[in-house]
């Protein structure tokens, strides 16, 4: 490749200038251990493991036992205590830089490396041998070489399993060149075509079962400008053809392409895609990986970290600490180019729990959580990017307010603003940076950035206040329901659920109202609701269904705290319980906006149970269960849920899924198909979105669905 010549020259006169301060690149070095390095022909990839200390929001119930019966008095006592505690989590760091920086980087690492337990550095890649002495001299670590191919495959398995939008197909002429693929629940078997200076074709059948089934010596060399393109075409085509022949012979239809010959190069990706499509008559698609360059480093790292059991955990890409997929043409985004110099980072956080598919998905392999892919929908993208940018001031304000008495909150909030604004800016130029751009990914990126600057739960106090207030109305709501006929009551319950869902600080239209009118109440919210027929209205079918036998068990993904959960969800759940239906309430594991967390919900449920014997009995009889979803997002990815939830759902014979709220039922899962009955309901609290759906603000979506035998088409 053309860069080769330059690199060779460069390595003789080590370039000492690094654009970014190195501590923003090699983060957390003071807690780092287990190093691995993959040195290729032009790029070095460094990997390490660090422990990250950061704040988490905790709620703890006060001892209210003595006060039972007095909660209604407005004595100003909050019903639970909020605290922020330091917690230690594990993080994986992967940094990619040009070989010219190796010496500088090694010096920096040596100066900042505190952990003395580290004795060995795993190394792979062609350059590992060349730089062995330098690494050993600088870092005083013993270089332990690992086989390149097995590292590559270990790394590939890891990203396929842990990064949802890792895989994409390349479509040159489409609105978005990158079409991210849903990761199949079972990643095996697949064909990996690694194109470096030569080509290796490897069939991977299981974690530790792989075989090099072929290759070619024609790989990515040559340079002269006028011939380069022709050679590139020729070589890409040739490789594509061989890959197809091997795929056909071994009956594989997933073919991933990697190696430095590809590395985000659009002409190469296009030619290979074209060639694969041509030679297989469209039966096989060429697949590319977003973190293809890191595979070797990840694999080498995993080999050295076996005692930490990294493969037993689930990991998640941290959008705050990862550079994302670079634009293929650097001039497209000069800003990021100058900001990060030639450094590229990937950070992965260890998740506290194993994440799995919801067992009730109709077809897990075709499930796509997000309703709109903003990489393909330019108008929607423009709108949402602006929307999130406009909302930024409010979020910053809220973050500062949540930590009024803590030092440095204002500065940290400013840093958060800067970081998230930069991310939005990056996404404007490279919507594909973290896979498909979606409302969910924008929200998640914001949560990651907030956490990065130690704002674990900016809405904690608001949630506390609203929960407090809503609890006071709980019994009043119950008694007003008692006066109604069965039919009236069912509608009132649904309207209550919808009215509760109006209280959403995530929606700008609502947060403006709530900000200016703190007294905005449950009744007022009901008045805002659209009258029937709703925008999407299958209420009649739902009522007909309720006249039939009760469901065995309902799984309810709840949304906001306050009015929503207490005055909307609980009365509705209570009715289900009274019909003899068991209920599993699934709430977020970690905070996101004003969504109720599992910790909060436990306390709230306790409080409600104390007032309401029906709830108390259901808890005692284990007919009402609280589980955490495993998510910390306002949206919901049903392919990444807490394993415990999946077990409970299976054990209870769940036959009804209820999903509430814009984030979970509109932005995501609107088209999700289940193998059982489902109810998706939300109030559209965004006029742009309402307009798009053909309605007005506060339009109601009430979507009740029964799986047909020949399900599967939306």
């Amino acid at each position: 490749m053309a860069t080769y010549g330059e690199t060779d020259r460069g390595s003789h006169s080590m370039d000492k200038s690094i654009v970014l301060p190195p501590d923003e690149i090699f983060r957390n070095l003071e807690n780092a251990k287990r190093f691995a390095i993959d040195i290729g022909g032009s790029l070095t990839k460094l990997a390490y493991y660090s422990t990250v200390q950061h704040k988490v929001a905790k709620v703890r119930s006060f001892d209210h036992a003595a006060k039972v019966g007095f909660q209604h008095e407005s004595d100003g006592d909050p019903l639970y205590e909020i605290s922020e505690q330091e917690e230690i989590t594990a993080r994986l760091h992967f940094i990619k830089f040009e070989n010219t920086y190796i010496e500088t980087c090694l010096d920096f690492i040596k100066d900042h490396l505190v952990n003395t337990e580290t004795k060995v550095i795993k190394a792979t890649g062609g350059g590992a041998y060349k730089f062995k002495d330098l690494i050993e001299k600088k870092l005083k670590l013993k270089v332990d070489k690992e086989d390149e191919m097995s590292c590559l495959i270990k790394g590939c398995n890891f990203v396929l399993k842990n990064i949802p939008h890792e895989v994409f197909v390349y479509a040159k002429h489409a609105d978005s060149e990158f079409r991210f693929q849903n990761t199949h629940p079972d990643i095996f078997p697949y064909l990996l075509v690694n194109i470096g200076s030569g080509v290796s074709i490897v069939k991977v059948e299981a974690e530790d079962k792989f075989e090099r089934i072929g290759g070619s010596s024609i790989g990515g060399e040559f340079s002269k400008e006028d011939m380069a393109k022709s050679l590139l075409h020729m070589i890409s085509n040739d490789i594509g053809q061989l890959a197809c022949l091997y795929a056909r012979l071994h009956n594989l239809n997933r073919v991933y392409f990697g190696g430095f010959f590809i590395r985000g190069h659009p002409v190469t990706m296009h030619t290979i895609t074209y060639s694969i499509n041509y030679f297989t008559k469209g039966e096989v698609q060429a697949l590319f990986l977003r973190h293809e360059g890191y595979l070797g480093a990840i694999g080498a790292f995993l080999k050295g970290a076996e005692e930490d059991n990294p493969n037993q955990y689930c990991w998640g890409e941290n959008y705050a600490g990862s550079s994302g997929l670079m634009s293929v043409s650097p001039e497209l985004n000069p800003m990021q180019r100058t900001r990060s110099g030639t450094f590229d980072m990937l950070e992965m956080d260890r998740l506290e729990r194993q994440l799995v598919n919801l067992p009730l998905l109709f077809d897990p392999s075709s499930y796509i959580p997000d309703t709109v892919d903003l990489t393909e929908d330019t108008l929607a993208r423009e709108y949402w990017l602006c929307c999130f940018e406009e909302a930024l001031d409010g979020v910053v304000k809220r973050a500062v307010a949540s930590q009024k008495d803590q030092p440095g909150a204002a500065e940290r909030a400013e840093k958060f603003r800067q970081k998230y604004r930069d991310k939005l800016q990056t996404l404007r130029h490279q919507p594909f940076a973290y896979g498909s751009l979606t409302v969910r990914s924008l929200l998640d990126t914001r949560e990651h950035c907030l956490n990065e600057f130690n704002f674990p739960d900016p809405y904690s106090k608001i949630k506390q206040k609203e929960n407090d207030m809503a609890l006071k109305y709980y019994q009043k709501v119950l008694s007003s329901l008692e006066e109604l006929s069965w039919e009236e009551k069912q509608l009132a319950l649904v309207r209550g659920l919808l009215a509760g869902n109006v209280f959403d600080w995530g929606a700008k239209a609502v947060s403006d109202v709530l900000e200016s009118d703190p007294e905005f109440g449950f009744e007022k919210a009901k008045q805002q609701l659209q009258e029937r027929p709703w925008l999407v209205d299958s209420y009649n079918q739902w009522i007909e269904r309720l006249k039939g036998p009760p469901h065995k068990c309902a799984l309810f993904f709840v949304d906001n705290s306050g009015m929503d959960i207490i005055l909307g969800v609980f009365p509705f759940v209570r009715e289900l319980l009274s019909r003899g239906t068991e209920v599993v309430l699934a709430s977020n594991s970690g905070p996101a906006l004003n969504d109720v967390t599992n910790g909060e919900l436990q306390i709230l449920t306790e409080r409600i149970a104390a007032m309401d014997p029906a709830i108390q009995d259901s808890l005692n009889e284990d007919r009402l269960t609280l589980v955490q979803s495993g998510s910390s997002s306002p949206c919901l990815d049903l392919s990444r849920l807490d394993k415990v939830l999946a077990t409970v759902v299976r054990e209870r014979g769940t036959d009804l899924v209820i999903i509430e709220g814009m984030g979970r039922a509109i932005h995501t899962n609107y088209y999700a198909a289940f193998s059982c009955e489902s109810l998706k309901l939300a109030v559209i609290k965004n006029s742009w979105l309402a307009d798009r759906l053909g309605g007005k603000i506060f339009s109601v979506v009430f979507k009740y669905e029964v799986p047909s035998i020949a399900h599967g088409q939306h």
Partner: protein, 432 residues
């Protein structure tokens, strides 16, 4: 990872050897006996054949009908490829005195011109060693001649056709190859000739089957390399292609087509690759400044590709045992050329050889995959890339044998690049 091309070393100048071998065939024309012998005798042919004509009237009737439907002379078949035009000419040798008298001047002039020369202009060549004498075609005895010239010289050829008033004899010419389409208008305007355009793959298979059948009684048209993995004992051997099916037919011209042939009329194009003979010559011209295929091959014969290519042992210091890759296998074609010092130390000959090895190995590798996918063990390589190119043939034989662990057999045909033109000639019967 591919054989590095050193395997064919130690044989001095393989091309000359090949030339010698074929040249000896030219000296033994008597062994070429026409297959149509039992069918009938040529009309007005040599007296000693008369005895065979008396046995039935039906034979005579057939002969008469053949005579009527037989196309007028001259008999040509043409294959206009991306680089070369291949011309096959049937020269009747049983011309009676009466016929000779009637033969128009233009026909005589064409026959004399073609048969009395072995080179035409600066670039036209008659491959004398391939000539098939004593052949009977449509009841006429004669010789089949094989002529080639660069496609870019086609205008000169057309001019000559015009000068020799070819169109007064025939106004249709059987032609195949892409050029039959590309140059159709030129034939019409420059030489007043209509082309009967024929599919090149149909012609190719027809030609292969025909040639193989007519030379079955002499030294075999088809041959292979015995012990291809043992350079010391690697030897060219005749092969009997009597029961050819199924076979994989790999035609290496400027580009490459790979066909799976199941019977005379049942075949499919499995795949192809644009990396063919044209790629080899094109790259060689760029890398070495050479101008002809012959020159490129001569350079390749003297070069050393392991100086250009990066071998497994250059990376691993030996074999890559985990995956059973021997140290001598090529890991990266031209891979050493990313390093400036190595770039400065290679010769043009090295580059030519590396190019030849790269292209050949790639064809071998695609062919092997196709053979496995189609479940065919016999592979016949044809096409002008193999002309005077023993290096590639031995490498293909080696690669197929080595990587298939002896499962696949690489076969070659002496008339390498002429089968399309032969197939076109055979269509002449259907042209009128």
């Amino acid at each position: 990872m591919e054989p590095n091309g050193c395997l064919c070393d130690g044989e001095g100048c393989p091309e000359t050897e090949d030339e010698d071998a074929t040249a000896s065939r030219v000296d033994a024309p008597c062994s070429m006996v026409a297959t149509a012998d039992s069918e009938d005798a040529p009309p007005g042919g040599a007296g000693h054949r008369e005895r065979r004509g008396s046995n039935s009237t039906s034979a005579r009737r057939r002969l008469d009908s053949l005579k009527r439907s037989r196309p007028p002379f001259p008999w040509f078949g043409m294959d206009i490829g991306g680089t070369l035009v291949k011309l096959v000419y049937f020269e009747p040798k049983d011309i009676t005195a009466e016929e000779e008298q009637e033969e128009v001047e233009s026909l005589k002039s064409i026959r004399r011109y073609l048969t009395s020369h072995t080179a035409y202009g600066k670039t036209g060549i008659r491959d004398v060693h391939l000539e098939l004498p004593g052949l009977t075609l449509w009841g006429r005895r004669g010789s089949m001649h094989f002529i080639r010239f660069p496609t870019q010289e086609l205008p000169v050829f057309l001019q000559m056709g015009r000068d020799k008033r070819f169109s007064s004899l025939h106004n249709t010419l059987c032609a195949t190859g892409g050029g039959a389409y590309k140059f159709e208008a030129d034939f019409r305007t420059m030489a007043d000739l209509q082309l009967l355009k024929l599919d090149e793959l149909d012609c190719l298979i027809k030609g292969v089957l025909y040639i193989d059948s007519v030379v079955s009684s002499g030294p075999s048209e088809c041959y292979y390399y015995e012990n291809p993995t043992d350079t010391e004992h690697c030897q060219q051997k005749d092969f009997n292609l009597e029961n050819p099916y199924p076979l994989l037919l790999v035609n290496i011209g400027s580009g490459v087509s790979i066909l799976a042939v199941y019977s005379k009329d049942d075949y499919k194009r499995v795949t192809g690759t644009s990396l063919g003979g044209g790629t080899f010559l094109g790259l060689c011209c760029l890398l070495t400044g050479c101008a002809t295929f012959e020159e490129a091959l001569e350079m390749a014969a003297r070069g050393e590709s392991t100086r250009v290519d990066k071998l497994v042992r250059d990376i691993y210091g030996g074999d890559y045992e985990r995956f059973g890759l021997p140290g001598w296998a090529v890991a990266s074609s031209f891979g050493n050329m990313m390093c400036k010092e190595k770039r400065d130390s290679v010769s043009k000959e090295d580059l030519a050889r590396a190019t030849l090895i790269t292209i050949t190995n790639n064809i071998g590798s695609i062919t092997r995959m196709c053979a496995l996918n189609e479940n065919i063990e016999r592979v016949v390589f044809v096409g002008n890339f193999l002309r005077i190119n023993t290096l590639s043939m031995k490498l293909l034989a080696y690669a197929l044998d080595y990587w298939s662990k002896g499962q696949l057999k690489a076969l070659f045909l002496r008339h390498e690049g002429y089968f399309g033109a032969v197939g076109a000639l055979l269509e002449l019967m259907n042209s009128s």
